[in-house]
Amino acid sequence: MFDTLSDKLQATLGDLRGKGRLDDEQISKAMREIRLALLEADVNFQVVKDFVAQVRERATGQDVLKSLTPGQQVVKIVHEELTALMGSGGSRLAFGKPPTVILMAGLQGSGKTTTSAKLALHLRKAGKNPALVAADLQRPAAIDQLEQLGRQIQIPVYRKDTQDPVEVVKYALQAATSAGNDVVIVDTAGRLHVDEALMDELVRVRDAAKPMNVLLVLDAMTGQEAVNVAEAFQERVAFDGVVLTKLDGDARGGAALSVRQVTGKPIKYVSVGEKLDQLEEFHPDRMASRILGMGDVLTLIEKAEAAVEEDEQEAMEARMRSGQFTFDDFLSAQKMLKRMGPIQGVLKMIPGLGNQLKDVDIDERQLARVEAIVLSMTPQERRMPHLINGSRRQRIAAGSGQTIQDVNKLLTARKQMEKMMKQMGKGKMPTLPQQMTKAGRR
């Protein structure tokens, strides 16, 4: 459903590669598409208006570069402007006389508690000695949640049985000082920005905690409301930066742009998964791509690099070059893919491909079933697939809960794969096995 903006612009503007300047009419058409794309990405409507006016000015009268289509040219301008907008301002946390206090604030359900734990882990990896403070006294079991997370990552959690979060903070600061914690992360209760009483409480917590950093935790799926939320928190507790959460979903995350534009405060971190190590620094260029629905090559490359350990990769490459592809290779390839995250997400990050694949449903269940088949083979069978005869096929099918036909299909696919590897080894461009591209189509 997410046609990329560049594809849409391509369709609107046509292929006028290298044919001079963008004229007024073209620009107006392009601006309409950009406006819609940004609105669908949940960028605040006023921010969209201002932004489009700005881009229009820059695009007017520009020469179309020889190498680009007018559509690409416009996208390039938009992308640059977006990146510049979201990029200015520091993304680092401030540290002072220990303990440095970081106060987490935000709406209910934005992910404060999990983000607090993630940030603690992140800072410990950076050489700090952090502690967590359970100052959410509103939500049932919130303290338990933080304590359990703290145990998982072995970071102390300070708590106190009281009704007043200010007391918790005071106690925790003392405890942290005597325990030698140099960073204290305070998890507060989620609150609506229109709830005066709770916002007052937050102000009191801030005054007691004297944080060097107040972070607003914001759900990437937030709609037009993001601006009101950010303005209200800005006014009451003057936050220093934003942590954008749930970016592992498919929300385009236009709220990031809105909040940056309206408050001027930078986005410092993004949260990209449920695991506690899935907190990343913010990259404005990637966010710009995401908001525009343009794919994200950089993130993909980085993910791939992180997922594949080097020697593993070399060994695999060597085997591939020799034209071998056993089921052991298959398993390790699958493992690498998995480490990169949901396959659909990975593929979407490849510009151009995202659009081609929009109707192809990459069925990860299918992959799991295939894995089950491979795991039902003996190590010997995995190394030497030609051994797999009729009775072995029957055993494998029974062991994996799949049909013999499924097992046969996989055996054929492996053969094709091996053939492809051989072609690649000889320097030819392989043709994708039919089955791979066809299987997933709805």
Binding site: M1, D42, L107, G111, A142, Q145, M221, Q224, D250
Partner: protein, 316 residues
């Protein structure tokens, strides 16, 4: 008159709802949608709206977008208003069209004994809280309720639900952290049947709809419930945070595919968020809103009334 719980549950009668309760919710909804109301009437300047003026239409469009109604549903509303020719009172006309997109007032299917309600959604939308309040409401309407804690992933989720179960005097089936959620669902359905409860509500872990392994897990929970009890789950409620933007559509679409969603519970409407994404979901996917959450209090979980909602959204 706002929609009552008895109407939602399909009961002939139920505990009398005080005028205060009913007016209370409408008032609260108005209050919570107040910013939107001001925005809309301000944007529209409804009294001076001139159907011949392109700029007036644009302002209307912007107002709807600002309420998270989304580009497509907004275009449809504008198209319908234009087709009317004579508009009369713009606010009135707009509210009518929005209510029309939202569909008929829905009921909650809890007539079977036991009825199973499966509750799903992305992280942090308020599933557990909604279940807690729903349990209390069902209890007030003479149903014995069992809560099943099939969120075995999030730290302390089970504890949170158990606290709600105690408050609502509901029976409770839990499992240790990391247990198979389908097994918990199984136990919950079995226990509800064996102990003669009227309704079993199964809480699930929040998950992003893009995580296909977790969505597969959810589909399994559903299959297990289906296989244990004919006709179950009788309702599968998707809990959507009213502050959600257009991603709410994707949530509804993908949760619908995996879990067979029958209705939406729209939470956190007590902020200044308009919850316009509910209009987009109803229009594009035909999925009705059944419950709304307008505050932290117990009485703040309410049956959804399309006309109330539309009026509060547009005109107050």
């Amino acid at each position: 008159m706002a929609r009552s719980w008895a109407e939602l549950l399909g009961d002939e009668d139920g505990p009398e709802e005080t005028a205060e309760q009913q007016r209370g919710v409408f008032g609260r909804l108005r209050e919570s949608l107040g910013k939107s109301r001001r925005a809309l009437t301000g944007e529209l300047a409804a009294a001076t709206f001139d159907p011949g003026n392109e700029e007036d239409w644009e302002r209307l469009e912007e107002a709807l977008i600002r309420g998270d109604v989304g580009v497509r549903a907004t275009a449809e509303l504008i198209r319908r208003l234009e087709a009317r020719g004579e508009l009369g009172d713009l606010g009135e006309a707009l509210a009518e069209e929005i209510a029309d997109l939202l569909g008929e007032p829905a009921t909650l299917n809890v007539s079977a004994k036991p009825s199973v309600i499966l509750v799903v959604g992305v992280n942090g939308t308020g599933k557990t809280t909604t279940i807690g309040k729903l349990a209390q409401k069902l209890r007030e309407h003479d149903r014995s309720v069992l809560l099943g804690a099939a969120d075995t992933f999030r730290a302390a989720a089970e504890e949170q639900l158990e606290i709600w179960a105690k408050r609502a005097q509901a029976d409770f089936v839990g499992a240790p952290h990391g247990a198979d959620p389908a097994a918990v669902a199984y136990d919950a359905v079995e226990a509800a049947r064996a102990r003669g409860h009227d309704v079993a509500i199964v809480d699930t872990a929040g998950r992003l709809h893009t995580q296909s392994n977790l969505m597969e897990e959810l589909a399994k929970v559903r299959r297990v419930i289906e296989s244990r009890l004919e006709g179950a789950p009788h309702e599968t409620l998707l809990v959507v945070d009213a502050t959600t933007g257009q991603n709410g559509l994707q949530q509804a679409r993908l949760f619908g595919e995996s879990a067979g969603v029958t209705g939406v519970a729209l939470t956190k409407l007590d902020g200044s968020a308009k919850g316009g994404v509910a209009v987009a979901i109803a229009y594009e996917l035909g999925l009705p809103v059944k419950l709304i959450g307008v505050g932290e209090g117990l009485d703040d979980l309410r049956p959804f009334d399309p006309h109330d909602f539309a009026r509060a959204l547009v005109a107050g």
